[in-house]
Symmetry: C2
Subunit: 499 residues, 2 copies
């Protein structure tokens, strides 16, 4: 199906309900459907929005286009949780229905203000010449889920940015409100984080661009997020078009972070010793991560697993993408970001089963036969070994998601999805790799959810996330030795059911 601009921006009330019901059923019945991650009811999901804690529940929204796997007229769909793992879909919360968001209720954040959840979002508008105008709008959600939009935008684009000005993160800091915005500078056409300040959410002061690096951050920054971890500011953002000499990445667009020492909000400056941004995720598909500090001070993040300007195999089924699991963020003693599953993820574990590899010298050993399509697999591979772990594999291992590990002198981990099923995103390669410290044990905490993998390495110092689209019949977990030595390791496999 060719999607015309007119179709993509058709108001939701011009679509018929039967089409929507069929699209929902098509997504519900997909053999690639996720079992314990947030996914769209139909159509396309992209950025997480409004990740927050309010009224004794966790909240998150997803950018939604319900009528197909394309970027059309966007709205916010609301989900609610008691534990950051089990989410209840609360449906359409914020649509594109005013003159300040006529072409999409784009991404934004949520902050508790005066007993309501205050949503700040980008209203996307196209004028008669299809020129984009970006408004930064406000809305409130009450305890019954009723959303009320403010009558006028909070912030209009200043003269020094192009029409690419979006993704507001509203933060309360001391006695003022601050907003971070992704922006493109009009003069240099480079990516920036714009900062605004207000005492009353009405009068806004333009504090200029956030100074956090001497480098140029590509041509546009999307989805800036600031969280505080151990009192240190951490900026998570997507610098589109970043020069790979500044920081290397393999995906079409990167999602990166910088850990600062100190934030001087009013001066719009984050001091940092970090010379270059670092990839938040070393896998294939993480983008638009949204992070926030919960009332208890902890920092949590959730990501879109999907990338702009890419197609995925489920597009043909009229739906696409999912969210990552929520991760708790911390810093290690070297100020490196650590991402860990939240405690309630362990509640999903069903009937643990010990897995162990022994003497798989140049051969293969089945670790779990007839595995579920959804599971957690936690392993420790001792130092000095090398081999390939085959996930969601067929009988002869010709089809599988491969994790090639080496824990000796040249220590590394390579994830290869070339043989995991339908090939896609070929322009960006089929492997992702991280270097490991030589001669150290390797800890892997692997989550598989039918068409999604999330691999936590060494307690969350690295995470590799990606999609894959293999046959439902592929249900083995196996190990293959690639050295002359003995392979020996132990771990646990837990089935995970649909939540």
């Amino acid at each position: 199906m060719e999607w015309t601009r007119e179709q993509r921006y058709l108001p939701y009330n011009k679509w018929d309900a039967e089409t929507l019901l069929k699209l929902q059923a098509q997504a519900d019945n997909s053999s690639y459907q996720l079992n314990y991650h947030i996914r769209p009811s139909s159509g396309l999901l992209n950025d997480p929005n409004g990740f927050s804690y309010y009224n004794n529940h966790w909240h998150v929204f997803y950018q939604s286009y319900p009528f197909g796997a394309v970027h059309g007229l966007k709205s916010w769909v609301h989900l609610e949780s008691c534990d950051l793992v089990h989410w209840q879909n609360k449906g359409l919360a914020l649509g594109a229905d005013t003159k300040y968001d006529s072409h999409g209720a784009y991404s934004g954040s949520a902050t508790v203000i005066d007993d309501k959840l205050f949503l700040m979002y980008t209203g996307n508008v196209r004028d008669q010449n299809w020129q984009r105008i970006s408004y930064q709008n406000g809305a409130t959600m009450d305890k019954n889920g009723i959303v009320t939009k403010l009558a006028a935008p909070l912030i209009y684009a200043p003269a020094h940015v192009t029409e690419h000005f979006r993704d507001p993160q509203l933060l309360k800091h001391r006695d003022a409100y601050y907003v971070l915005l992704g922006a493109q500078d009009k003069t240099t056409l480079s990516g920036k984080v714009a900062v605004f300040k207000s005492k009353d959410l009405k009068n806004w002061e333009d504090l200029g661009y956030l100074d956090f690096s001497p480098e140029t951050m590509g041509y546009m920054i999307e989805c800036p997020n600031l969280v505080f971890i151990d009192d240190k500011p951490v900026l998570i953002f997507c610098p589109q078009g970043l020069d790979k000499n500044v920081a290397n990445y393999d995906n079409i667009y990167p999602n990166m972070y910088v850990v600062g020492n100190k934030l001087k909000f009013d001066a719009a400056r984050m001091e940092t010793k970090q010379t270059a941004p670092i990839n938040l995720d070393d896998g294939f598909d993480v983008y638009a991560t949204q992070a926030f500090n919960a009332p208890d001070g902890k920092a949590y993040a959730i990501s879109w697993v999907g990338l702009p300007d890419m197609t995925y195999p489920t597009d043909e089924e009229g739906w696409a993408n999912c969210f990552s699991q929520v991760k708790e963020l911390s810093l290690d003693e070297q100020n490196r970001l650590v991402q860990r599953p939240v405690p309630a993820m362990a509640d999903l574990r069903q009937a643990g089963q010990v897995v162990k590899a022994e003497k798989a010298i140049n051969g293969r050993q089945i670790l779990v036969d007839n595995a579920s399509r959804s599971y957690e697999l936690k392993l420790t591979i001792p130092k000095g070994q090398a081999g390939t772990l085959h996930l969601v594999a067929n009988q002869d291992l010709s089809e599988s998601l491969q994790l090639k590990f080496a824990t000796g002198d040249a220590a590394q981990l390579v994830v290869d999805r070339a043989h995991s099923g339908i090939q896609f995103a070929s322009d960006y390669g089929f492997t992702r790799q991280i270097d490991l410290t030589a001669n150290e044990d390797l800890e892997l905490d692997i989550f598989v959810d039918n068409s999604l993998f999330e691999i936590f390495v060494n307690g969350g110092l690295k995470v590799l996330t990606g999609r894959f689209f293999g046959s439902q019949a592929n249900n083995q977990i196996a190990i293959q030795g690639t050295t002359k030595e003995e392979l020996a390791f132990r771990g646990t496999y837990w089935r995970i059911d649909h939540i």
Copy 2:
């Protein structure tokens, strides 16, 4: 909102998608929404359909009208489960879109035939004079959830029935297929169960009406279901307009059962010693129960919790009704039907908490303060006591769902929902009552799910099910003594989370 006939039968493709998304969000956000029972995505849910086991999963469908809490153009919505407790919604499966079901894909059953799930359902058609024609249609569902309708009806209404001829249960018995159908006899205008037989699903023999009682079964029988328990046939059915002298009931329409000794299918006769049908549920809202024998021979039942021709408080929110939990059926040594929760219901239990009442002489005692809105409460009340258990109660117990028990000489259990919240169905009374054996311990296994209660009495010998619509703030469980004696009992309370 007044619903015209035209609105109610408007094809789904004449409704707009925005309306549907808003109705779905409205249902999702309802403060009366169910947490662990099947409920409609939007609009009205009624009969369970196609309850079956196929492709290693349990299946059930619900009669759906997605656009409001009215009986409009009906379709089947599909759900799938691994354990009869956690259900995945698979969306619209069978719509009203052919000349043999133009005014509704009405109720029916599902049977595994030739590696597919064979759906048999009533196609509701209205002619130009709005005269009803009922076709008994077939369709198949494959392992990918793709439904294909047969080109022509399987069974046309015979001359001896009126237009009220529906709800086929297709059964394979020995080397033939049999269909039971709810019917109204044209001559006597009385309720009947029509029986048909076929060797090939094409040529059908009319075996006449099932002979199972000398009494007249009201003016219409809906939803007949036959299951075998310990080789005994059990007929579950809804005799509308049944004379209360034949068997008493309190609801607008009853849902009853008869246990037979022997079924002579080809003679259309079920021999029974039971002189009158018995209420399947002694509560307020159970109807249209569907039961079937699983491949392991066990019999399971699931019910619509809702009644025809009634309004419920959520109607104003554009949605209505839910399903009961699935119950496993058995017979006790006196051939009485026993209904029990399925084993996986126990998996829902979170953090058990002992509850006990002591010395609540004419006073009240809080058993659980700050209880969840969803829970299981299992109690044994020793013989010789009397009192009132207050569920979902406010602080002074002026609002609560009351269970008045007496376990002495005049032993009985009364459920009173008069003070449980919004009053509804007032014409049919606010209490339901069952007699108990004098001077015996009373075992109660109570399930509460926000706006639904299911009370299993004495191991499932009686079940009382009903809806209630109280304030979200009512979260106490308390006991009140009504005798001069000491009250003493123990039990366990388990919180149940959203599934």
